[in-house]
């Protein structure tokens, strides 16, 4: 069997369900394929050594310090009282919101002018309906 297919089978990735079943059948029924796959597994497992590099003590200390410093900053942020009320920021925000509201209002008014129902008529209907006196 094609070794590339067996590699993908080993990784359980990159093969369709049908292809996986075909490989599985071949491994279970064909002794040559079974031996080929066993040898491949052995070699790939040998490539899985988990050799850990020793970390020099000064580097290890640097990483511990990184966490301590980050925690310290978090602590300082948590201790700080909420910021004061900024009147200028508020004024700017209010002005921008007002300008936006006026802009939207003008836009709606202009768009309303294109429809077949004039705004003025709608206003009249509303006002007369409110003045109806029951018989």
């Amino acid at each position: 069997m094609n070794e590339d297919t067996l590699i993908l089978y080993y990784y359980n990735d990159g093969l369709s369900d049908r292809e996986r079943r075909q490989v599985e059948t071949a491994i279970n029924t064909d002794t040559a394929v079974s031996a080929q796959y066993e040898a491949l597994c052995r070699q790939l497992n040998d490539l899985s050594e988990t050799d850990a590099q020793a970390v020099p003590s000064h580097t290890l200390q640097r990483w511990h310090d990184t966490i301590d410093r980050a925690a310290q900053q978090t602590h300082i942020r948590q201790q700080q009282p909420p910021g004061p009320f900024h009147i200028f920021s508020f004024a700017w925000g209010a002005a921008i919101t007002a300008a936006l509201a006026i802009g939207i209002g003008i836009g709606v008014y202009i768009a309303g002018g294109d429809t077949n129902t004039p705004m003025i008529e709608l206003a009249n209907v509303g006002s007369s309906a409110g003045n109806v006196v029951p018989a």
């Binding site: 590699i7 990784y11 790939l44 040998d46 490539l47 850990a52 640097r62 966490i67 310290q72 602590h75």
Partner: protein, 178 residues
Amino acid sequence: MVEILQSPGTPTQADFHEAISNRSDRWLSACLKITRNRDMAEDAVQDALLSAWNKRHQFDNSARLDTWIHRIAINAALQLLRKNRPAAFEPLETDIPDRGDTQESMRAEQELGKSLAAALTHLSEFERLCFVLKHLEQWRLKEIADEFDSNVGAVKQAIFRSVRKLRGRMTGLQGEQA
């Protein structure tokens, strides 16, 4: 150690220290296999720790903290490598034969030690990264392809080539050791 207000399940400062003490050698080894440069690998672990601390509220408590940091460290290593050696992320159209013992590979072997890490120095950058992410880090082919803005087919080919070269190398090394 400072006292920090946090929601239950969020890893604490002590949890981070414990993970560093127990698992940082694994993070460094993994990053070293990606970057092949000790300074870059150490920086990647440091960046990962800081990033993990800042995002600790996103940590899924059902997972292990050290595994989570490991994954962040790999991403940090890839990010650093992309910045420093962008060519490593370009898949090659054709197979590059093992160049044998070059000056560069011998220097890397000195840094990384013998065996697998040494054998990895004989792969092209793209092959090495694909192999490390697939074989050692168990990423999905699609994830690797996305990381490199490549396609699954190119990643598969790189892995097939790596396995072929590494099997040859490892057999040779085992023969030398026997």
